[in-house]
Symmetry: C2
Subunit: 220 residues, 2 copies
DNA sequence: GCATATTTGTCCGTATGTATA
DNA sequence: CTATACATACGGACAAATATG
């Protein structure tokens, strides 16, 4: 068995580094990322950094303006609505057509347990990570490389928005047990019910996020 | 009205150039693209070309192996099946929820007419282009930036496969009037019927492509 | 299996154009 | 309007990985 080596490629590694910083809110949405200063900070060349920028721009974590460089993407309402629309489409479809002995189900169980533990410790950041992995596992039920990739991208984008809105508990705490319920239905072979529960989950989450969004706009 | 200037950015322009060559079959699937020789051919620097490679790799038109560079992607059965699965999901969903006065409908009419003209001239390459634009217009009914982007990518990937299988007439000729029928149903407000017709369209197309694929594998 | 040639990965210097204080 | 900072793009360099004879 070939162990897939940790990507020693500098641009991939740096892309992941910046991705994490963006998702964690270390890099504030809207701030410009200067090629020269950031490349010095990360100890990489400008060429390499530019390659990284191309990757992250396509993932919509960075926003690119010609001749002005990149800045950290600023989530907006249209993006949030678009992301939730896609989540509904992809996740519900995956659940409806899933079969209960798919390997991803094990992954769902594992990440659900993680989420519960972190939730108990009120470590919402890590609840978020576990929750994301849980939903990615749902998407993986469909065995579609391309949908999985898309979903990973919009997950990262959504987590950026959550960081931005700055109330992780509100966005994650209520959903752990909803995930548990969906998983139960799936394992019982009640696919339609699982999909319906997911649709409700997503609608509630979207409403919550958009409300938080509105509050934030109001206060500024 | 601000006219969106043609992206004067070199890497974007070069990406489009290579994209076209790949889709048109000028660059044979599987062949390695050397950084040095291709950068000389295109009169751009290696650095710029590497940025282009990052873009096209994410679009799955190029395949990248660490320390070995990139080669033109070779379509495989898994990719074709994945692409059709996604088409069914996205296009049918778009049709079901579409409303008949969406601006994209005009675009559908226009591109359908184009397809008919080229079809009459037996110019299958351009039928393919018009057909692609027609289906992109369908996806745009959903007003989702992210789904549209995904769809553009898998369209390009699929056209690469068509070029590879080398029987454009088979893949395009029978579908022009099926598009027309779907458009008629949509304009009549019969969304479910339109979606159903689309599902059948996609299934037929998938079967045709996979059969051609099997024939090709057999002959080698 | 070894030595060599080629190619990628990465960095640096620099000229030019574009945006902003 | 000028000056400054920055992005864009080029070309050269060299080490490390890979392919070739």
């Amino acid at each position: 068995m070939k162990k897939d080596a940790p990507p020693q490629l500098l641009n991939e590694k740096m892309a992941e580094t910046i991705r994490q910083k963006i998702i964690a809110g270390e890099l504030t949405p809207g701030i410009r990322l200067s090629e020269t200063s950031l490349s010095e900070q990360l100890n990489i060349s400008r060429n390499t950094l530019r390659e990284v920028f191309r990757l992250l721009t396509q993932e919509r974590l960075l926003h690119y303006e010609p001749n002005r460089g990149v800045c950290v993407a600023v989530p907006d309402m249209a993006a949030i609505r678009d992301i939730y629309r896609i989540r509904r489409l992809i996740e519900c479809d995956a659940l409806i057509h899933a079969y209960p002995f798919h390997p991803s189900v094990t992954q769902m169980e594992k990440t659900l347990e993680e989420a519960r533990e972190y939730s108990h410790a009120r470590d919402w950041r890590n609840v978020g990570t576990a929750n994301m992995k849980f939903h990615i596992a749902i998407v993986e039920l469909a065995d579609s490389e391309r949908l999985t990739r898309l979903y990973c991208n919009i997950s990262a984008e959504l987590r950026l928005a959550f960081s931005y809105l700055n109330d992780l508990e509100l966005f994650y705490a209520p959903y752990v047990e909803k995930n548990a319920h969906i998983l139960t239905l799936l394992k019982e072979g009640q696919n339609e019910k699982a999909a319906k529960a997911m649709a409700e989950y997503i609608e509630l989450s979207e409403r919550t996020v958009l409300a938080a969004w509105a509050r934030q706009k109001q206060s500024t």
